[in-house]
Subunit: 140 residues, 2 copies
DNA sequence: ACATATGTTAGTATTATGCTAATCAACTAT
DNA sequence: ATAGTTGATTAGCATAATACTAACATATGT
């Protein structure tokens, strides 16, 4: 059962990790029903997604609470960094902020972070993305 | 049966369209067995892919020969243009030509061509991609 | 016309995604 | 403390994309 390479994410797994991390601004861990609602799917669908993420050691669960593991947080940080780099670039090109965000979401989780960092340098090492969020580490 | 929106491609469908177009440098139409070999899959797998592309009116088949329809050629052109724009950008950033090509292949078929064209302008309207191929129309 | 090539269908498998219905666990209010 | 409610989990099912083998059909060449 449960497949897809250990460091690779599907689009839904990506979305799931983002919701887990950003639930209620890092205070209490999210629970299945909230996650399901946030992702617009039913709890069993989330359950399946969570099994896969657990299998990849990206999340941990305890009495209904769901948190990212160290590995999960690293992956989250990488995705967000890349997402913001792409957004910044697209907006630089004249794409609207919403379109930039939407496009970036489609592949931020599949780009090599080495490539992303080279893009960042090319952009002149901007500190913030178009939404004003920090691009580099510490970014929440 | 056969699903996925009429203008959207999956990664394999994208690969299939590229092989069909580039078979033997546009002389004779490709056939199933060649296509299967080029894609490193067995003929029935290609058959399934072709059913989907036929269903989307992107290819036509006649006595074993497979060609792109007008719609198929348009989609091909769009993908190639976007692919080359992305490659150009990545190489500009310092990514190796092979990595640039590999990364671009992962999402050239899912980026909006409006976004791609804005990127092209930002890059200063280069004429050729890093492989020396024409980026814009007429590109073969 | 026959033998070989190639194409096509049928049927199966796996993975990702999603659902409903049923069960199980945990908390709340009396 | 227990009945009821709520929430989590499992079981079972469905569909789409990808891929296979085996079987069958149709060409093509000699």
């Amino acid at each position: 059962m449960y497949s897809n390479a250990n460091h690779t994410l599907t689009k839904k797994e990506r979305a799931c990790i983002l919701v887990i991390k950003n639930s209620d601004r890092n205070s209490f861990p999210i629970r299945v029903s909230e996650l399901a609602e946030a992702m617009h799917v039913k709890p069993p669908t989330v359950e399946e997604l969570l099994h896969r993420l657990e299998n990849k050691k990206m999340i941990e669960r305890n009495r209904g609470m769901i948190i990212l593991t160290e590995k999960g947080r690293e992956i989250y940080s990488k995705i967000i960094m890349i997402h913001r780099i792409l957004e910044t670039f697209f907006v630089d090109c004249g794409v609207s902020i919403d379109d930039a965000c939407a496009e970036a979401s489609n592949f931020d989780y599949m780009i090599n972070d080495t490539t992303a960092k080279l893009i960042l340098i090319k952009l002149g090492n901007p500190v913030n993305c178009p939404h004003g969020m920090k691009i580099q580490e510490g970014s929440d």
